[in-house]
Symmetry: C2
Amino acid sequence: MRATFIYGAGDVRVTDAPDPRIVEPSDALVQITHACVCGSDLHPYHSAPHNPAGKSIGHELIGVVTEVGAAVTTLAVGDFVIAPFAISCGVCEFCRVGLQTSCVRGGFWNDDDLGTSGGQAQAARVPLADGTLVKVPGVDPATADSGLLASLLTLSDVYGTGWHAAHRAGVTAGDTVAVIGDGAVGLLAVLSAKQLGAERIILMGRHRARTDLGREFGATDVVADRGDEGINAVLELTKGGATKVLEAVGHLPAFQQAIGIVRPGGVISRVGVPQYQDGPIGWSFFGKNTTLTGGPAPVRAYIEQLLPAVLDGTVHPGRVFDRTVGIEDTPQAYAAMDAREALKVMIKL
Amino acid sequence: MRATFIYGAGDVRVTDAPDPRIVEPSDALVQITHACVCGSDLHPYHSAPHNPAGKSIGHELIGVVTEVGAAVTTLAVGDFVIAPFAISCGVCEFCRVGLQTSCVRGGFWNDDDLGTSGGQAQAARVPLADGTLVKVPGVDPATADSGLLASLLTLSDVYGTGWHAAHRAGVTAGDTVAVIGDGAVGLLAVLSAKQLGAERIILMGRHRARTDLGREFGATDVVADRGDEGINAVLELTKGGATKVLEAVGHLPAFQQAIGIVRPGGVISRVGVPQYQDGPIGWSFFGKNTTLTGGPAPVRAYIEQLLPAVLDGTVHPGRVFDRTVGIEDTPQAYAAMDAREALKVMIKL
């Protein structure tokens, strides 16, 4: 098959790779129909050390089951499935409470221990398939609407991650929510906050096309300023701070911004993987009785809940995709997202 | 009146001070019957810069109302009251949701802006008396049992602070709770976790007399080890970590310990004022979907709730006091607590 590998910073290539095969009886094989590039893929794209052997990459995919192991009970060849970005058994202590990213048997794509390859490829072996994959009934990817397929693809990561931010923050009716970051996750955190009943949603971002989409998703205000100016703008709009702050960036200035704009007693929910080790959690954080929550989103926990509104067209999270390429053009997808020419690029296989 | 002032590190003295008087119509004056020294008073005792003018100190007190301003409506001369460590109006946005430590009109003892003096004195002016003070009906401090009075005094700070740790962590029936710190707040966090239904309570502390009291308050296990050894001991006892960690110390190693022992998806609730600016909230914290909460305890929000079990003798939080002195011996109280010869010292006026 053809698959995407990263060989170092800025060096992504598509090459031939062995076709995946069933290893464990709980495995399934999936022919990938749609994949994409994640904002988090840009971190290794910026900083991965040179690696002549290459490392497979990608973790968002939907596709069709082509083979199942002997122990798989809930899936059959031909099923159209969503694959979350985490592999999970579905039955351990953490899976049962909806924290599949801490599954005791699971792991992630591109994991040597688990023997998983990457999502930006023509096919994938999915360990713990019964726990991991979610079947989408009634949709044939060969004939379905491309917008619907794009929205289904967001359930593999970015929509579930935006939802996790809002859900863990406890966003509820009447809340004043601030979302930091106008990437795909930030925009889908806006959509999620809207679905959860937030009254006011302030989107902090400076890319007009993105913040315009944020307004369509439910943002009531946009603040383009950063740093102290951005903080003061939100404090003024909210008369003292947002009750819930959803941080979808992962860099330290975004977290500092979150502390500046959170209302006393409020919650900061982070879903951008922190690109820092230490953060300011002294008096300025503690004195306001701030709560910090969030983490890698157990999107598996949310797919069944979010699916109906996607299927019936109530929401269109797939609008975060503004470009589509074929597998051979995956390197250009990285370059376009890195240059911020594209918000999020779909790979149609 | 006689009152306690701090003149620099290790330099606490009792001296004559002007009697307090009504300044605002919402003030009350209180003749203090019992006060005490807080673990947090030891921070300036360790590090306050030399100050020849002295600064009043102390923030935990109970006593009898001796005068009320013209606007005070809920209190009368002769009422026996508990004074929380924060002054609060009772009617602002934050007071209404039980976050009196963020009251927009309030503040703390020993606050120049608010014109408050300290609690380790014979009398105090209490601003915003209707919001701040809690009347204890049916108790005459002149004749009441000394154990009961000690327990009532803990409601001014340490019991409410231990309760805040457990309450903000969301401790509930069946939880496995770890409490870091065997000071008065840690021990009362144990008692609070027990009251909230925790099934297992692991107290991390190394002072035998204190941890023995912790066992009486409800601790099921005691871990004396610190650092990696302490973390490993708790991970082994809990088979993977505590669901709720109550951090009642405030120093960075205690927070690092909390991160090490919290179960994936668990909560760290801090009530010790952090003596650090930056803390490790990168992947080791984020990857487990850890929640961090806590802050200065709005003890005013909890007094009415906690009072009945104190009055009827169901709980005896006042057992944290292991020494009583008169006002002239307040400096010795500091020295005894600093040397860890005393857990917590009451000042009987």
